[in-house]
Amino acid sequence: MNVNEYIFFAGFVILQFVVLATAWNILGGYAGYVNFGVPAFIAVGAYSAVVLFKSISAPLVVQIIGGGILAGLLGLMVGLLTLKLRGIFFSIATVAVVFILETVVMNWRYVGGATGLQLTRPPDLWIFDTYTRMLFFVMAVLAVCSVSIARYIQDSFLGRGLRAVRDSEEAAECSGVPTLKIKLIACTISGALMGVAGAPMPMYLSYIEPTATFNLNYSISALGMPIIGGTSHWIGPVIGALLLATIQQIVTVTVSNELNVLVVGVLLVLFVVLAPDGILGLIKKWKQSSK
């Protein structure tokens, strides 16, 4: 096949953001708990993959599963620690997790410390022409899986419980919703999916380094995309991620890396102020007025 390799390179990032936005929305959109600590989960996924690769040269699938499990455990731990915290306290606690883990990794020689670690990709290509194409395919599968999970959760007992928690935690508890349990489950699933999205990163870049991995820019994107798309339905984060990540890729190539953060920031503020229900809300309004 004679397709520009860059399509796969950029497509990987866009699909990665579909996973991240979907994962963020399970906790942030359904339950109303704003997670600022997205890079912590990505990094746990990525660094687990690095350790698995370096120690036993585990294949990519094992790296992804390992990263997902550890990030899920981190989600559970964050959930346990912040059980009683709401609103901004929860959000600030998640930021704290990012910086604490970053400091630990910075001082951890085995995974390269502050300078980072160069990784050599294994020649294993499966049925693909290049390694990037294989990673693109893997990320596409992960995106489909995570969106399916989010879609399943939305109409399940868990989803209804989380929405009850968002509207009023006290009322939910009084009506017999096991709020603590479902919050912990949501934290774990959300964290695990973010870890899964981060696990292929070291192989994608053939390199890992803490400052870029623990970058809070991931937070603003993973939070901005669902809010811009619409948080009430599983398709919202998908729309937001596809749209914004594509814009970001174009902006990164044509203008600069800084500007793509600005794009998300400005759009996020505009949507939060002018269209609180995101693109989905706008579509709904438009449908109603055209009737």
Binding site: E258, L262, V272
Partner: protein, 290 residues
């Protein structure tokens, strides 16, 4: 092994550092501690204050004077920001939690990226006669820049404590955090009072920003680490207590200084975030909380 002498020096430096941390957190203590506004953009505005000081000081003015001159400007920025927040979120009272947080988080990133686009990612410093030299007492050296920050910190804390306990408006600000309805019954407009408080919180940030660039070089992405330091101090203090803020700042300053001395500077960022997480996990209402 760490000698007692070195430890003593670390504690001394920690006290200076702690007062500095208290001063950069005062604005947040008012905006978040007293008013319950999820003001995540506070550290970004702090850095903005530093950069404005940097610009003004190019004219040859002393950085402290620059900070003082910027206070009215930041007062207006604060009022505008609160007015906007109130009109779009608080008045509609529609799910302020998620959207209010996302709003201020977005603002913080916009400020940071704009600073990068205008000034670049390089570190910036200001110059003044007291930067670079130290006061020597016996075998201990106190950098003048830290002493200046120490002075400003004490001045600001005293001023705010007096303002909140002695004046009508100050007491009203304290009251609005406790019971808005009661304040309305007393014939004061809670929105105007909150607006005033937010203006003061942001104005204090201008001087704190000037102090930040006096103490050391400033770069646009620095607001991220200061999320930890400022929120750590405010949560540790118990929301909205001014004297508590000073004590909490001292605790953080000494802890950071001792960790830097014993484990090395690369562990310093974890101190504030670690203390913050510990506090949130064990006692979210803070040491001196209501």
């Amino acid at each position: 092994m760490i000698s007692i002498d070195l430890l003593f020096e670390a504690v001394l430096f920690g006290i200076l550092l702690g007062c500095f941390y208290a001063a950069v957190s005062l604005g947040l203590s008012v905006a978040f501690g007293l008013l319950d506004v999820p003001y995540v953009a506070h550290p970004a505005l702090l850095i903005l204050g530093s950069y404005f000081t940097f610009l003004l000081s190019k004219t040859g003015l002393d950085p402290i004077i620059c900070g003082l001159l910027l206070m009215p400007v930041f007062y207006l920025i604060g009022i505008a920001l609160y007015r906007f927040y109130y009109e779009t979120f608080e008045r509609r009272s529609s799910d302020t939690g998620v959207r209010g947080l996302a709003f201020f988080f977005g603002i913080a990133f916009i400020i940071e990226v704009c600073l990068i686009l205008v000034f670049g990612v390089d570190q910036r410093t200001v110059s003044a006669t007291y930067i670079g030299s130290s006061l020597e007492i016996g075998e201990y050296r106190f950098p003048y820049r830290m002493l200046v920050a120490f002075g400003i910190a004490i001045f600001l804390t005293t001023l705010l404590t007096l303002y909140f306990s002695k004046t009508f408006n100050g007491r009203a600000i304290k009251a609005v955090g406790q019971d808005e309805g009661a304040l309305r019954l007393m014939g004061a407009n809670p929105v105007k009072i909150k607006q005033l408080a937010f203006g003061i919180a942001t104005a204090v940030n201008a001087l704190a920003g000037a102090m930040l660039i006096i103490v050391g070089p400033v770069e646009p992405a620095m607001d991220r680490i200061y999320i930890g330091r400022t929120f750590c101090v405010v949560v540790l203090a118990g929301l909205g207590s001014m004297s508590g803020t000073l004590v909490a700042g001292l605790i953080l300053g000494i802890a950071e200084s001792v960790v830097m001395m014993t484990l090395g500077a690369s562990w310093a960022p974890a101190v504030s975030f670690g203390l913050l997480l510990l506090m949130l996990g064990i006692r979210p209402q803070g040491l001196f909380g209501r």
